[in-house]
Symmetry: C2
Subunit: 413 residues, 2 copies
């Protein structure tokens, strides 16, 4: 308030006024063709999305001195300054965003806060806003008039961590009425900073599977989505960055390995009508969940016949003293990678029914080049694998939704 009174007609105020006028006109013109994002809370008219996927964000903050909007890669290269109108409402219209789901937040006088008009999603270790931008090819994850499975909240005691854990379990359409039919099991993991809610809230995995199963493209399966941290607190035991020695990350993942093998699989097999053998068990994960999948499933091939890494950074040796950054750039060594899992290609091909790897074409170079390098080296070594690219999407959920659409039909064949 004091600042507002000090500079009522200053240069900054005049510039802001001019921009406000431009902004108001753009807003008024655009309203007729734009519509509220599906990720808004009911009744909230902003954020609004235009047919060309420009997005208008808005927040009322008459006393703020600076408001920006920032978010995931697909939102563009922000943060984007917002402009204050005479009515105290800050607005900005972003250039067309990438289709799909993007985390975002406002920076209000320097503080990152959620948009009160948005649903929140667990990412970056907290609850933050998300923007659902329509994809012209996004029909595969919409709620349609097909038989629907259920997503069940399952609580179980972990002897490994000494704590109660929550997993979500997708049971396919017909699960309750068939009574005796048994199903294969997919363990499907989220990324770093996310949790067991990610695949159904951000990923819409239940609708992707409902639609694939209804079309006869995927076999009915049970999917369990657990919290990918094997500690009592339910978060990773360390915060890692480019300088973290890989072996420390490997140790943190070991705890989750133990949860999966000793607590989770026995619980799910005892609670649901799974077919409890390796030929009917898959593990897949995105980003950190892909790293975990490769560490865990390649190490326990007696437990998993289907293995998928969705944008999982390639770290070949979980016991390495290398920094994460160095490990990501290391050339892929087919003989030694992942404890020598691929050394004997024909043995691997006989044993593992599917190795699936994917990346978005707009992902960070370190991630994508590592994945592409591994794919090339493995193929040259005659390891059978499927490599899938999501066009134009980054290290974000739209990549992983498309991944699941490609992956699920290949499972349990």
């Amino acid at each position: 308030m004091v600042c507002d009174r000090l500079f009522p007609r200053g240069a900054a105020a005049l510039a802001a006024l001019a921009l406000t006028l431009v902004q108001s006109v753009a807003h008024a013109q655009a309203d007729a063709t734009s519509s509220p994002a599906a990720s808004n809370v009911p009744g909230a008219i902003n954020p609004r999305i235009y047919p060309d996927r420009r997005v208008t964000f808005e927040i009322t903050a008459p006393n703020a001195r600076s408001v920006l909007v920032a978010g995931g890669d697909g939102l563009g290269h922000g943060p984007f300054p917002m402009i204050k109108s005479a009515d105290g409402v800050w607005r900005v219209t972003l250039p067309p965003v990438v289709p799909g789901f993007h985390y975002y937040w406002f920076i209000l006088d320097g503080v990152a806060v959620s948009d009160p008009a948005s649903k929140t999603y667990f990412g970056y270790g907290k609850e933050i806003s998300g923007l659902e931008a329509p994809d012209p090819d996004g029909d595969f994850y919409s709620v349609k008039a097909v038989p629907h499975g259920e997503v069940r909240e399952k609580w179980y005691w972990s002897r490994v961590t000494g704590a109660w854990r929550r997993a979500f379990v997708y049971t396919p359409p017909g699960y309750d009425s068939s009574r005796t039919r048994r199903y294969p099991l997919l363990i499907l993991q989220h990324g770093y900073g996310e949790d067991e809610t990610g695949w159904t809230r951000q990923g819409k995995a239940q609708f992707i599977l409902d639609n694939l199963i209804a079309a006869g493209k995927a076999k009915p399966m049970i999917v369990v989505m657990d919290r990918g941290y094997g500690s009592k607190t339910g978060m990773l035991a360390l915060h890692f960055d480019n300088d973290t020695p890989v072996k420390e990350i490997g140790r943190a993942f070991d705890a989750f390995d133990h949860v999966v093998l000793r607590d989770l699989i026995p619980t799910i097999d005892a609670s649901y009508r799974t077919i409890p053998d390796r030929d009917h068990r898959a593990m897949a994960g995105l980003s950190m969940g892909g790293m975990e999948t490769l560490f865990i499933a390649l190490h326990h091939q007696d437990e998993f016949a289907y293995i998928a890494s969705l944008s999982g950074p390639i770290v070949q040796n979980p016991n390495s003293s290398q920094s994460l950054a160095a490990a990501l750039r290391a050339p892929f060594d087919v003989k030694s990678a992942y404890g020598g899992s691929f050394a004997d290609a024909s043995r691997f091909n006989r044993r593992v029914k599917l190795l699936w790897m994917g990346a978005g074409t707009a992902e960070p170079a370190d991630f994508r080049l590592g994945i592409v390098g591994a794919v090339k080296a493995l193929r040259a070594h005659r390891v059978h694998l499927v490599y899938f690219e999501s066009r134009g999407t980054a290290h974000e959920w739209q990549t992983w939704r498309r991944d699941l659409k490609d992956l699920a039909p290949r499972l349990f064949r």
Copy 2:
């Protein structure tokens, strides 16, 4: 930043500094005995709760000029100004709060924002922060080593609204393994501004039922928690306040009545092993959900034998032209209330197996006096009912958790 430079040693800055020092000391002293709230995101050390239920809130906002914390009744009579430390962190320690769950938010330079350190909950029509303050008698809603039911996300098509709807369905322990056993059904509704997630996220209904069933105190039952708005958008068709004519509210509730009778019950009876008759069907709701329950269940006694209003404001005639405020204060007329449901007390007593009403002793007078007035008038008229009071709690979730603990054992006897 400009303001900070303009007043480096001003009176306000000196006062703030003094308060900051006091605050820092209090904070340092308290840390040893306080612990992070269970409602924090994993790893967040604030809000912190002390053994006497004082609560310290904290947010880093070096550039903010004013930060307050505000919230639900049980938090105290805020908003409470927070004090800025030299490190840019704003803090306040509140006097002991009421046990249980309280919505809260920060007011950051005039803008209501969620606390990045808190889980969010759907209330007030948006996602906001919540504080879980321990209750020495709160064991009944904790996750314990007892058999656990499941909470299932159920999508269904509503012909009434022409839209897909999501309900959550609690199935009791043993539901999957028994295969043929059938269960009674409780429809359990949230309050105004909340949604179908409220009873499991804020209310912990699944743990309350798990614990009661394990102790043999409640019969195993199926519980469905739906979104209490019968419109395509999934929110109430109107925003109501004290001046809204009751008949407009009644009309908005009519749409939900149709959803419950025509869409929800048939869907649940077709999808789960319910006992699909009135003697095995209950409806209960809190606040607005209590109003809905009384309107719907008293009007359809052929469908419901158990009827419970948890802090539901008493509005006797949904077709009245009275304002809401006037209707809440009207003396209870046993002959005409709720379409004459109670006029013949002995007929009502034969037909309705349980009428249950509850309120917290710290609720707003309009709500509580209306409920108490109805209870007195109904008892004088020899209508059988149970009245339950939650000591020291307001129009908040701790009242409703205690209500469910009292109510569930009385159902389906």
